[in-house]
């Protein structure tokens, strides 16, 4: 009985008007003419010290040779209270495709705020770092096209810094540069922060040379290294400039500074 009212014509029977089998619309795959990504330029960097982490990024946003705006922050406080993230102890920097960067920031911020709401304690940087990796990997086959750096203070009160690739592989590091001028800034940081290719003066030649040992740098030294890195990047990379935003994370909170860069 049920078959009688199924709405389908009897198989091979005397059909009603819908006799022809449905003809498919013109087949053949069409090429997608839409590319969902763009590069908004800019550069970011992070350096961790003994009891602080400094995050920095320029504030220029570009599309091709156009400057969209001279002030588009790439540094975001994560967690804390309310839309201004009061009392936050974690900073996220994102560089690459700005729309994905904003979406990622909003996801992570919500996660960290929900964590505090559910557990009654702020999320640790190591936990937040691992969660960020998962958030990125969740979009493994349509990635957030960004290079993220996460900074904060770890559970021992030491500066913590994590860097990511667009699909979530991550690592804790002393320093990292990302974005358009990463290739210009990173070797400078290797030399000035980790003392790569620096030797103790007068320790000899060849195999006698004593490598200069890296040690955590004081805050004002790190700040001036960051400034030098960016003023240099501005000279040689057209997508970097306009302004330098810095966030210094200490156990007492996040200090934010802004310094103008060349606007050419």
């Amino acid at each position: 009985m049920a078959a009688l009212f199924s709405g389908a014509p009897p198989q091979g029977g005397p059909g009603y008007s819908f006799k022809q089998t449905p003809t498919m619309a013109p087949s053949g795959e069409r090429q997608h003419g839409f590319y969902p990504y763009t590069d908004n330029g800019g550069s970011t960097l992070g350096i961790s010290g003994a009891d602080f982490t400094i995050m920095a990024g320029d504030t220029r946003s570009t599309s091709g040779y156009n400057i969209n705006t001279r002030y588009a922050p790439k540094l975001f406080k994560i967690g804390g209270e309310g839309p201004d993230n009061k009392g936050a102890r974690i900073v996220l920097s994102v560089v690459g495709f700005a729309a994905d960067g904003d979406a990622l920031k909003e996801r992570l911020d919500t996660i960290v705020k929900m964590y505090k709401y559910q557990h009654g304690k702020p999320m640790s940087v190591s936990a937040c770092a691992q969660r960020l990796s998962h958030v990125l990997y969740n979009k493994r086959f349509f990635p957030y096209y960004v290079h993220a750096i996460l900074g904060g203070i770890d559970e021992d009160g030491k500066g913590a810094l994590y860097s990511y690739d667009p699909v979530g592989s991550y690592e804790r590091e002393q320093c990292r540069a990302a974005g358009a001028a990463a290739s210009l800034i990173m070797p400078f940081l290797d030399n000035q922060v980790n003392f790569k290719n620096q030797y103790e003066p007068g320790s000899g030649t060849g195999h006698d040379l004593q490598a200069k040992v890296a040690q955590p740098l004081p805050r004002d030294t790190v700040e001036s290294i960051v400034r030098d890195a960016f003023t240099s990047a501005v000279e040689r990379h057209i997508e970097v400039g306009d302004g330098l935003q810095m966030m210094i994370i200490t156990p007492n909170g996040v200090e934010e500074t802004f310094t103008p860069l060349k606007r050419d």
Partner: protein, 262 residues
């Protein structure tokens, strides 16, 4: 005679032949916009000390054909905000309907004008709509400027495009305007601090000057345009402005291209 209810009201096969149902197929492939069809060109906008000026011409082009010459591309959302649309006109009309329904919903849920959606809220909403659609590989082929006042009554101007990219600046222009109008406007309003020194009249003059330059050099533009000024007093929208004081006199003094070289 076919007694099956499914056949009722349909042309008879024995008289008219098999019914061609292909035209109301619904299970074909879903189609997405791969390129814009009817398009609007630049939108330009500038902040001033107590509001924002925004303008866009009234032309909708079909490729290089000036197809519709009376299409209004500025849309007042409420007394606090105006949206300017560049790019595909059908997607603009979709967004227009979307904003209408949003407005109706808002008016039902809250009658308190204090809590009306401001330009900042509207920008956040539209940016998320745009980002969602690009993430679905079904973009709305537009570049929007959202002008008005934010939650604190301060001038607000920001953009959102088909990729969901957003940014804000004291002056903004889409399309050709990003190349031609932005340098002119940035000369007068170089940064956020300069906004405080710009009067309503200065800003209107600046935006009108930009529209003139765009009409001179953008082949997909026209001389009739809409201009809106958003201040605490509300939205002052004029939809049939005509470009004034056009003159190619300056071209006489231009050297280095064209027929003369020196």
């Amino acid at each position: 005679m076919n007694h099956l209810p499914q056949a009722w009201g349909r042309p008879r096969d024995d008289v008219y032949g098999a019914y061609d149902n292909s035209h109301f197929q619904t299970n074909g492939p879903t189609t997405h916009t791969q390129s814009p069809i009817v398009t609007g060109t630049s939108v330009v906008a500038a902040k001033f000390k107590d509001g924002v000026v925004i303008a866009a011409d009234n032309l909708a082009s079909y490729g290089s054909l000036a197809r519709f010459t009376d299409v209004k591309r500025l849309r007042k959302f409420n007394s606090l905000s105006v949206v300017g649309f560049g790019g595909d006109v059908s997607d603009m009309q979709y967004l227009d309907r979307l904003l209408n329904s949003l407005d109706i919903r808002e008016n039902y849920s809250s009658t308190d004008p204090e809590n009306a959606l401001n330009a900042k809220n509207l920008h956040t909403y539209l940016a998320k709509v745009m980002y969602k659609r690009r993430s679905d590989f079904n973009p709305l082929w537009n570049h929007l400027l959202i002008a008005g006042l934010d939650g604190e009554g301060k001038p607000f101007l920001a953009s959102a495009d088909l990729l969901g990219t957003t940014f804000s600046s004291p002056t903004l222009a889409t399309g050709f305007g990003a190349h031609l109008a932005q340098p002119i406007m940035r000369r007068v309003i170089p940064d956020e601090a300069a906004v405080a020194g710009v009067s309503k009249e200065d800003a209107i003059k600046l935006v009108k000057e930009s529209m003139k330059v765009l009409f001179y050099r953008d082949a997909r533009s026209m001389d009739q345009y809409s201009i809106a000024v958003i201040t605490k007093e509300g939205v002052e929208l004029k939809e049939n402005e005509k470009l004034e004081n056009q003159s190619w006199e300056f071209a006489e003094r231009i050297r280095g291209y064209g027929t003369q070289v020196n």
